[in-house]
């Protein structure tokens, strides 16, 4: 039980620091809102392709997850920069706690921030693209949660690993995105299937997300310590 208590203490510390400064949340939310706004101008509701009309609400799953991916990466980078500036990541590694708890605490805090961004992005996309994203609330919430967990878990491992790298801001997306591609494809497919009303397909992709999250969570818990020790 100590393990979970440490995870809670670590995550709560991050949340407290962030909700006091609101630096990351505001930046992420603003950036995500800008991405959605730009998409809404780039693709008007009824965009014409060569010969037929296309309903751009079909593209809204992509808009949601692209905005989340970019804004999330921004937050991820900054959240770990905070641990680097005053050496607190080193101090955490020196603390008499399981190092996996440090990883999980950071992941939970990042997941909370990404969920806040989603709370901004999803209604905006629904509004701008007239997409019925809230037609099936349960699959929507599960998809968002599983996508967020996967992003936070994989992102935290790579962000921690690159903490000492000189050009980590450039390197992070380069190493992170290829690993996240299956996660985001599954999240987009699940959201798209939900919009189409094909819930069977939606649940298939949700199961895929759950498997992805489980595999990467286990791998991350197993490898985190060896990745962060010099």
């Amino acid at each position: 039980m100590d393990f979970l208590r440490y995870v809670k203490t670590l995550a709560w510390k991050d949340v407290r620091v962030e909700f006091r400064s609101r630096e990351i949340i505001y930046t992420m939310s603003f950036f995500a809102a800008m991405v959605v706004l730009l998409f809404s101008f780039a693709f008007s509701r009824q965009s014409a392709t060569s010969s037929e009309m296309m309903d751009v609400s079909d593209l809204s799953p992509g808009f949601v997850w692209v905005a989340v991916l970019f804004a999330g990466t921004l937050g991820l980078s900054r959240a770990f920069d905070r641990e680097r500036e005053t050496g607190t990541m080193r101090a955490l590694l020196l603390a008499p706690i399981p190092r996996a708890a440090i990883f999980l605490g950071k992941s939970v805090a990042i997941a909370i921030m990404v969920l806040v961004v989603q709370a901004v992005v999803v209604p905006l996309v629904a509004l701008f693209f007239d997409a019925p994203l809230f037609a099936h609330p349960l699959p929507l919430v599960i998809t968002l949660l599983l996508g967020t967990i996967g992003f936070s878990v994989v992102g935290s491992v790579f962000a921690a690993m690159l903490l000492k790298a000189g050009s980590r801001d450039v390197l992070l997306p380069v190493v992170l995105y290829p690993i996240l591609v299956p996660l985001f494809i599954a999240a987009i497919k699940a959201t798209a299937a939900m919009l189409d009303g094909s819930l069977e397909d939606c649940w298939f992709w949700i199961r895929f997300l759950a498997v992805y999250d489980t595999i990467f969570l286990i791998a991350a818990l197993w490898t985190f310590e060896s990745l962060v020790i010099e």
């Binding site: 203490t9 510390k13 620091v17 905070r82 005053t86 080193r90 020196l94 603390a95 706690i97 020790i229």
Partner: protein
């Protein structure tokens, strides 16, 4: 679990082609302060990193001993170690009390609130500053808070890397007193510093590193004066 000695044998560390440490042997005992001296790049901070368990050596071993028995290098061992480094190890978005509360929870410190307040008084931080975020602190205040953070769990091994940096005369005196207190408590204390004046009088063991190798080691129960430390440093570090 209190550690009364640290034994370093054949320690080596490489960063790529650079050899940071080579075949270092060192014994640290409870009840004394060891001053680890040497020019920049001599490998002092690397040695401290290995002793604190955050850097893995390429060769050699570090044994933490209690009554002659080596202790397992696990998470509970880290509870016995306190580190003051170049960085403050503090969250600038949290107040002094919140910082100590956070670290105290991770180290499972009993009577945490009272202990935090006592320590903040000991290191000479004004009560008005306790509720201010650490981001508003001066370098010296941060260093005082950093020392309080390190002492919070009463470690039996204290590893300090340039702890006097940024401290005014009062702060240096408070830190020297805290170190003396730790020595009396039976702690193993290792200090890396170029501020020889601040550690004169409390140092009983001097080790000089040069280009990753132990160039000189000596113990004196009577301690070292500032002049003696300065002479030792200059004659063995160049």
């Amino acid at each position: 679990m209190s550690i009364d000695a640290v034994e370093v044998r054949g320690l080596g560390k490489r960063y790529g082609l650079h050899r940071a440490l080579h075949d270092v042997d060192l014994d640290l005992h409870a009840g004394g302060v060891c001053a680890l001296l040497g020019p920049n790049g001599a490998g002092k901070s690397t040695l401290l990193g290995i002793l604190s368990s955050i850097v893995k050596p390429n060769a050699g071993v570090v044994r933490y001993l209690r009554a002659g028995e080596a202790l397992a290098a696990d998470a509970s061992l880290r509870r016995e170690i306190g580190v003051v480094a170049h960085e403050s190890f503090l969250y600038t978005g949290l107040t002094a009390l919140e910082n100590l509360d956070f670290w105290g929870q991770l180290y499972q410190v009993e009577g945490l609130e009272q202990r935090s307040r006592d320590l903040l008084r000991e290191v000479g931080l004004d009560e008005k500053a306790w509720e201010r975020t650490a981001g508003t602190y001066s370098r010296g205040m941060l260093q005082r808070l950093s020392v309080a953070r390190t002492m919070l769990h009463e470690p039996s091994v204290l590893l300090l890397d340039e702890p006097f940096t940024g401290l005014d005369r009062g702060g240096s005196q408070a830190l020297a007193e805290a170190l003396s207190g730790a020595v009396k408590r039976g702690a193993v204390v290792l200090v890396i510093t170029h501020d020889l004046e601040s550690i004169a009088g409390i140092t009983t063991h001097v080790a000089v590193l040069r280009r990753g190798k132990l160039a000189f080691e000596e113990r004196r129960a009577s301690g070292y004066s500032f002049e003696e430390l300065k002479d030792t440093y200059h004659s063995h570090s160049e």
